[in-house]
Subunit: 71 residues, 5 copies
């Protein structure tokens, strides 16, 4: 039962990170195209929010790796 959850949970976490960081990346490249001189501020906000999503997704992945070995 834990093994079933490990694979599907890791996949769902990848969907979350994909959609979230995808929205940020899309907004960032369009914003840089619109206002190239603000690219420093835009890149800072982009990295900060993408890192927050990445953090949660990696914790979810670690939970799934724990499930593979402990379940």
């Amino acid at each position: 039962m834990g093994l079933l959850a490990a694979g599907i949970g890791a996949g769902i976490a990848a969907i979350g990170a994909g959609i979230g960081i995808g929205m940020i990346g899309k907004g960032a490249v369009e914003s840089i195209a619109r206002q190239p001189e603000a690219s420093g501020d835009i890149r800072g906000a982009m990295i900060l929010t993408a890192a927050l999503i990445e953090g949660v997704a990696l914790i979810a992945a670690i939970v799934c790796i724990l499930l593979v070995f402990f379940a």
Copy 2:
């Protein structure tokens, strides 16, 4: 049963954080592109709301880690 919930719950929490912080990050980079001189206020609002989402998602991740070891 608890192990099943641990993996899937962690994945669902990552979806929540991904979509939520993704919306904030997308809005933030587009707003900085529109009004670069307000980037300080925008960054403050961005970090505050992203941190609130991160808090709930991390608590959900901790519940899932508890489930791995206690279930």
Copy 3:
């Protein structure tokens, strides 16, 4: 059964908080970009509504933590 609910419930609560606070955060950063001189009022409304969502999501998380230890 309670353990199954704990993980999935915590994940669902994170989706709720993510989408809700994400909408508020997106609206807030776009509003600050549109009217930077109203950033104080906007920040006040943003924090108030985000805190209300955070309250419900944290209560749901506490219910899930109770389930881990009492079920």
Copy 4:
């Protein structure tokens, strides 16, 4: 069975409150940006409607807490 309902019900209540208060908060901050001099009236309507959603969500959460201890 009651324990299953407790966790998932609390999560669903958080989705309801999150999306509902999120729509109100998004509308409120955008409205304050559009008409800053009406921010008092906007804040009043925002708090009133958000409090009504919060009330229902908290009652749902209390039902779920009752389920943890009585089921």
Copy 5:
């Protein structure tokens, strides 16, 4: 049970990476078309966010590969 999860989880992870990197790539090519002289900054933001998604998706794929051998 673990073998079932390995296949489905790898597929779901590919959905996540596909949608996420797809949104970034779409935004990037449209942005380069709009502002060709900013293509360096756009390419940098594109590679960075796509790599973050790729990281989570690869970890999910590794979890699924582990499931094939350990389940």
